[in-house]
Assembly symmetry: C2
Homo-oligomer: 356 residues x 2
């Protein structure tokens, strides 16, 4: 594609992707996961962009992870991967029919289950379509979200599956790994499976912050990380990335300087989102590293300049590293691909809004 | 449009609009604002849908409020209103050119300014296009966002405008009204304007929670409320709405019941958003009024059932009233228009993602 213009010509707010940092992040984490002896199955929810998934697969990823069926549909339509894991219970006839349609299109489409109800739904749909769907048992190893609540329940669900046609137990998965509780749960689970004489080919861990503690989880066979591809303030707070690893930046214009210590930018929660988790503000400013995005309205970002010796003026453009890059990807239809000071491409966010 | 299907046939997550409640909310607040003697200029950021703005104008609204140029573009393209106020500083040549193109298309397109820099930019662009742009001085009456910081600064900006071609001072605006600080600021500002012999034709207040205290703000001439059209948990917490006034609901499927007091639904922050403000959870469940949406991941909603005597099962569909309806509108491409148990129409969210 022949497309070049200066980054400074972009209107604001715009989401930019520093593509050389993306490549460096992909290479670094591929090396780290492969070095630990695991398959790398990156979660595409961070970028939602087939072009970037291709870079991950070219670097050695065995396939991709999707959270929702509609994400898998977008990536299969793009012809990106022939091995996809969907890490979300698929419930209801409409979705089960879509799952069957998708599973006919690639070599391996695996799913998860954490209850008999979910597993029986998949089994019945697979039987209707004369198919066998591989599944992992999702384990709640302490996060308090989905998942079986005990190692014994994981084994029981795997045992149940042997009596159900159309499903094939392939292992267990959890999110996130990296915690002592996750380690204990996985060790106990694998011991129970061994005692029951059931093979567990796949033990799938997840989460970018867990990348620093992979050595503590030798029982894993694959890892699913997402955020590492861009990085963000949360990743810096986790010690997994530094400023120069942050590839996604939101360009925004200062539209008001109502007081000496306050700047208002034209990017609010409709771009940056109000995701905080364990970070107490809403982003950092590349050009003013001592400034913080202290608050957000839908269209306004409030920057606290009190600790910043230099301060921007109305009309200046700043670059914001968001708290959480994954959710920013979901707010825009396209990202601008940047190398140096040039925009070299535009990637549609193919799976934006893919919640179905 | 001939389009009917059962609400229960909708896949999840889906955003539904109970259209009779929307009409009732529009009629009720139009009566309240008109009853206080003010012009009603609803903020379309809540719905972002031309069809609903038409209902507001049919009920008596004098025009609409948009936060960004791209919202105004969407609504002018739809031919909805010929009197629009954009309540966001317009900064930069690209946006000023778009403002000029828009202002030629409707009877009145007014803007705001809170600094000499912003005002001079508008003036220069207007001169280039031989146009006169009406503007209001934005006042920070305590919210800590945009706006001049004192009544004297408001008067000074209005006085400056008399020396600038292409701009016409029409009054002052603030967000939100309803607080003692806003009242004091406005009273002092209007006294200063009177002392300076400057007429202030428009005094524009904003915010749906302020609707309950309009009687305390007799100096207003118009009011800009948005959220009232749908209502949400924040509006209920503000005492402005009850459960039966909440017109926007997110239908979601229970995909996991990992423990007796926990249900996981397929609507997370990508639909409901993590906007909390002064509410401590993330939504209420219509069918289980004692349940709360206690936490959200991107695709998962965690419902706390501990106070709910009845509990949903995997596969059940529930209706969530979100914390903040405006931000939910921005997460989806379309909403399903519901009357009774039938989907009677689909409205595209025309200004979704309109941040430019």
């Amino acid at each position: 594609m022949v497309f070049m213009r200066s980054v400074s010509d972009l209107d604001t707010p715009s989401v930019t992707i520093l593509i050389d940092r993306v490549q460096a992040n992909i290479d670094r984490i591929q090396g780290m996961v492969a070095g630990a002896g695991f398959a790398n199955r990156p979660h595409i929810k961070t970028h939602k962009i087939p072009q970037i998934a291709r870079m991950q697969i070219a670097a050695g990823a065995v396939g991709i992870t999707c959270q929702k069926l509609s994400e898998a549909e977008a990536f299969i339509d793009a012809g990106v991967a022939d091995d996809i894991l969907i890490t979300f219970n698929i419930v209801g006839e409409k979705k089960l029919e879509r799952l069957m349609a998708l599973s006919a299109r690639i070599k391996r489409l695996a799913v998860v289950a954490d209850s008999e109800t979910v597993l029986r739904g998949i089994s019945a749909a697979a039987v209707r379509h004369d198919r066998v769907v591989p599944f992992l048992v999702e384990c709640d190893t302490g996060f308090g979200r989905n998942g079986v609540q005990s190692p014994a329940a994981a084994v029981a669900l795997a045992q149940l599956s042997t009596s159900l046609p159309g499903v094939r137990f392939e292992g267990v998965m959890t999110y996130p790994v990296g915690t002592p509780a996750a380690k204990i749960f996985l060790v106990e689970t694998l011991a129970l499976f061994a005692a029951a004489g059931i093979e567990v080919p796949i033990v799938s861990g997840g989460g970018s912050p867990a990348l620093t503690s992979l050595a503590d989880f030798p029982m894993l066979t694959e890892h699913r990380a997402g955020t590492y591809v861009y990085n963000d303030v949360m990743m810096m707070a986790s010690g997994v990335a530094g400023w120069d690893d942050c590839a996604l930046q939101v360009r925004a214009t200062v539209v008001s300087r109502p007081s000496p210590d306050r700047a208002i930018i034209d990017a609010g929660s409709k771009v940056l989102t109000r995701e905080q988790y364990y970070v107490k503000d809403f982003g950092r400013v590349v050009e003013y590293p001592d400034a913080v995005v202290a608050n957000l309205s839908e269209e306004h970002g409030m920057i606290d300049l009190s600790r910043s010796a230099t301060k921007p003026e109305v009309g200046d453009v700043v670059s914001i590293i968001p708290n959480h890059c994954c959710v920013v990807s979901n707010m825009v239809d396209r990202v601008y691909v940047v190398r140096g000071d040039q925009v070299i491409d535009i990637y549609p966010v193919a799976a934006r809004g893919a919640v179905w």
